[in-house]
């Protein structure tokens, strides 16, 4: 795919994010900073058992405590299932069964947090202890304790093509792996709070969420009240990575406020954020791949298990590897989702990419070594190219509509304007690998498989490369829309439902709208969290924000622009065609006529409109006029990372010495924002690769390191400040001004690059997280 010739005035500029001044002055309000007049405080009682049923619950003493307004138990809560986005949670708000240590049991609203806490200790519960299961493979057995009414196992998610037994016959060499990945914690900096206020049967909810619309849907499902009676006001989050979508504590706040008859705020403390919300899955990959002597993949066969914990309901985590390495002649990827009595697991940044994906990269590396190919060459030979067919195109039993049914229902005339479905529309790893390896001086720094380039005492230095890809949003849960309103003074307001967890969406969406309309960036303001004004969207998940919401924002802006120009034609340009006009910096003019005096501003056009007695409106409202093509069937974003590490073979410590992150997210809308996404992803991946993992108590399943003291995160000195970012901008045919998704490919590439660099430094593969103990153990086993 070539890079389209283009000239943008706002897109591509590294303008400071819209909320930069609020951020550096500390005036930015997260949900924890928000208060409502008359609000009281809620606290949640947590389960001490991994699996139990409540036989009796006596709340009389808690209710009698002065200052208590309400005690909420499962008896007060409608018994409807509600579902968080993308199967991250399915269940009732409270149902009298607890499924992990830390699970929600009951809640109290009181005048102060201290009184609420005291009241919690006065609730008496008689539990019937149920058998529990922590190990996901044990949980798969039919005789295992069943944690959910639907059973522990989801239907296997299968992507298969060709015939792997044929592929095995064609293989000259085969490599395999069996890797267990421990669970990474989102480990959010910042906490979260939820404030709910009922008024006349309507509820307003303030909380930090990446998915305002999905939260409104969840409240609707759980309480069975009309969507029109629910207003979610999603506020900015601290670091989230998928943690703050819709979370059960938000639903509890809503129910508790209704029972208390006054606004309630529940603020989670840091430990609650880490042990009661969700985490990355524990995952295990068993698999093998084979290739010819020349390094051409003949088959890929992977069996992968993900542990959903108590309430997760996911079955798939294959976005990256299935398509990235889909050139294999034959393939079979099977993913099993299974519930256990551990904390719920959900989508964390790069879900599946850092685990199943890392396994596939690891086996690919083993094959490359066997056939004597450099890792860059092996990837160039075997990874997907733009235009290639995608492998993920089969039916999904859990969806209302399969991908094929979706595609078949689209009118032909619309489909003609779309990219070829089930084929990669643009971008791949090739240019990233080519330009990245040149910039990183890969050829000179890579000294062969398992060979360090420098040995100094106990220190071994080597380089590694890894690749990652992810979707750019998914469409199964609904169609994304946006509204762009042009005000009579020429200012613009965008309404689109996205998260503000630091990824700059309020800024990049505004840039897209400004570019489409031809106004300056400063004229655009945006509302991202109010479900009363923002139309439905998935929000910020699955690298959806720029691609699908950005598409909607641009489409809405183009619709507003069309309406504006129609009025301008009629009122100022002798009824010419709108296509003859253009807008720059908010001034409308006729194209090709350089010295025309007729140059009305947007505000002049709208004020003419306003004084028109037959006018229907004083402002213009634009919305997408056609549906967006299904992104899952053609759009991916890509990253290739190059890392240099130093491993101390005496202490087992790993240091990251040098780093280059390359990324193809199509057109770069804001380089300042995107470079932070790329490096932020790398650092989160590096943490997963070398430190981060939750420790579960073998007896109770409770998390033993659920705080920032015991759960180690990378610090500034742990990652090279000289790290660089390189963008390749292959223009996307659908995304706004050629842009695609961004946030998830980088974390996957980082995990694989660092793992490979460690292997090259010490000649032994170490399972993730490559803690000093594991490095030493791996060296001793060798």
């Amino acid at each position: 795919m070539g890079v389209m010739e283009r000239k943008f005035s706002v897109v591509g500029k590294g303008v400071p994010v819209k909320d930069a001044k609020e951020k550096v002055t500390g005036s930015m309000k997260y949900a924890v900073d928000f208060t409502v007049q008359g609000m009281v405080h809620g606290k949640i009682l947590r389960s001490p058992h991994p699996h139990a049923r409540i036989r009796e619950i006596d709340t009389s003493k808690a209710e009698a405590l002065p200052g208590v307004y309400a005690v909420l138990t499962h008896k007060d809560v409608p018994q409807n299932d509600w579902e968080a986005a993308w199967f991250n949670r399915r269940g009732k708000v409270l149902d009298g069964v607890v499924r992990f240590v830390g699970d929600d049991v009951a809640a109290v609203a009181a005048k102060t947090e201290e009184i609420a806490e005291r009241a919690l200790s006065l609730i008496k519960i008689d539990y019937e202890i149920l058998p529990h299961v922590f190990d996901m493979e044990e949980a798969m057995k039919p005789e295992a304790p069943q944690i959910r009414v639907e059973g522990n196992r989801r239907d296997p998610y299968v992507v298969a093509w060709g015939d792997t037994s044929e592929g095995k016959d064609q293989a000259d060499v085969v490599a395999e792996c069996d890797v267990l990945y421990e669970s990474q914690q989102y480990a959010p900096l910042g906490r979260n709070a939820c404030i709910a206020e009922w008024n006349g049967g309507k509820v307003t909810v303030w909380t930090s969420s990446q998915t305002p619309s999905e939260l409104r849907d969840g409240i609707h499902e759980a309480l069975d009240i009309p969507l029109s009676k629910i207003r979610v006001m999603a506020m900015p989050c601290g670091s989230s990575f998928g943690q703050w979508w819709s979370v059960n504590f938000m639903l509890i706040t809503v129910c508790l406020a209704r029972k208390a008859g006054r606004p309630v705020k529940i603020e989670l403390d840091n430990e609650e954020c880490m042990v009661t919300v969700k985490r990355r899955h524990i995952e295990r990959t068993r698999g093998r791949m084979g290739c010819t002597k020349g390094g051409e993949l003949t088959f890929a066969e992977f069996d992968h298990i993900i542990d959903n914990g108590g309430y997760g309901f996911k079955d798939d985590v294959g976005f990256f590897c299935v398509d990235m390495w889909g050139k294999a002649r034959h393939g079979s990827y099977v993913v099993h989702g299974v519930n256990t009595n551990l904390l719920t697991a959900g989508c964390m940044r790069g879900v599946g990419d850092c685990t199943l994906g890392a396994s596939v990269e690891r086996v690919a590396d083993m094959l490359a070594e066997k056939v004597g190919l450099d890792p860059v060459e092996f990837r160039l030979k075997n990874q997907i190219r733009a235009g290639d067919e995608l492998r993920m195109q089969h039916s999904r039993s859990t969806m209302k509509q399969t991908m094929e049914e979706y595609a078949a229902s689209i009118p032909d005339e619309l489909k003609e304007s779309w990219p070829k479905l089930f084929h990669l529309s643009s971008g791949d790893t090739h240019e990233l690998l080519r330009q990245g390896s040149a910039k990183f001086d890969w050829k000179n720094r890579f000294k062969g498989w398992g060979k360090p380039h420098t040995i100094k005492g106990s220190l071994r230095r080597a380089v590694g490369v890894g690749t990652g890809a992810h979707v750019c949003g998914v469409e199964f849960e609904g169609a994304t829309s946006a509204i762009v309103r042009i005000n009579p003074d020429g200012s613009v307001k965008v309404h689109c439902s996205v998260g503000r967890q630091g990824q700059g969406s309020e800024t990049t969406q505004s840039q897209v709208a400004a570019e489409a309309l031809g106004v300056s960036f400063d004229m655009v303001e945006i509302e991202t969290g109010d479900t009363d004004s923002c139309p439905w969207s998935h929000g910020s998940l699955a690298s959806n924000t720029m691609y699908r919401v950005g598409w909607a924002t641009r489409a809405a802006a183009m619709d507003a622009r069309r309406q504006l120009l129609e009025v301008a034609c009629r009122e100022f340009f002798d009824s010419c065609e709108p296509s003859e006009l253009d807008i720059e910096e908010g001034v409308i003019f006729r194209k090709g006529i350089s010295r025309s005096n007729v140059r009305p501003t947007i505000s002049q056009v709208l004020n003419t409109f306003r004084s028109d007695t037959l006018g229907q409106t004083s402002s213009i409202t634009g919305r997408p006029a056609v549906p967006m093509p299904p992104a899952t069937t053609f759009a991916r974003h890509f990253a290739a990372h190059f890392a240099e590490v130093e491993v101390d073979i005496e202490s087992g410590e790993i240091k990251i010495i040098d780093y280059l992150a390359t990324q193809d997210s199509g057109t770069v809308v804001n380089p300042q924002v995107l470079k932070n996404q790329a490096i932020g992803g790398a650092i989160c991946g590096a943490g997963f690769a070398i430190y981060e993992h939750l420790v579960f108590d073998p007896e109770t399943g409770a998390i033993k390191n659920g705080n920032l003291l015991d759960y180690k995160l990378l610090r500034a000195a742990d990652f090279p400040s000289k790290a660089e970012v390189l963008f390749v901008e292959s223009y996307d045919p659908v995304g706004p001004f050629g842009a695609r998704g961004a946030g998830e490919a980088p974390i996957a590439a980082a995990v694989s690059a660092i793992s490979q660099a460690v292997y090259n430094a010490i000649g032994v593969r170490v399972d993730i997280p490559m803690t000093p103990e594991r490095v030493i153990r791996a060296l001793n086993h060798f």
Binding site: P16, K21, G26, Y30, V32, L189, G680, A716, P720
Partner: protein, 156 residues
């Protein structure tokens, strides 16, 4: 108990229980929400403020211990219309994503640059390692502090 706190150059008289932390009082009595509380155990550095010019994690300090000390929070560092060079540098280099950690980082940076006005990049990275940025903006935080250092040297 009654307490007088000198915060950002002004005295505030506060009625408070003796066991409340300084972070709690600054946030909930004085409305200084720039004092961000995350871990509440002195590990993440989000609640870093200055007491008599020295950086402290205000989540670990009792409000009563701050009596008689000159306290400075991010709200006293600069204003929207007149940002401190450190704040401007964090914007220029985009030394943040979600920015929950940013006030704490900037307060640590201020104390560091007063001690060490002409640091190397490596010294800066080490000095900034008492704070956690989960979004991983570290290279840009280090660049921001280096840029602020240069600006502050020029202003002298």
């Amino acid at each position: 108990m009654k307490l007088v706190l000198d915060v950002n150059g002004r005295n505030h008289e506060i009625e408070t229980a003796p066991d409340r932390t300084l972070a709690d009082v600054l946030r909930n009595e004085l409305g200084l929400i720039g004092v961000r509380v995350s871990c509440a155990e002195g590990e993440c550095g989000s609640c870093t403020i200055h007491a008599d010019g020295k950086p402290v994690t205000s989540c670990l300090m009792l409000a009563a211990q701050a009596r008689g000390k000159k306290l400075l929070t991010v709200e006293g560092l600069g204003e929207i219309e007149k940002l401190h060079p450190i704040q401007q540098a964090f914007i220029d280099e985009q030394g943040f994503q979600c920015a929950f950690c940013t006030p704490g980082f900037m307060m640590s940076a201020k104390a560091f640059l007063e001690e060490c006005p002409n640091p190397t990049e490596e010294e800066t990275a080490i000095a900034m390692s008492g704070n956690i940025c989960r979004c991983g903006a570290y290279p840009y935080i280090v660049k921001a502090v280096m840029k602020a250092a240069e600006q502050l040297r020029q202003e002298k």
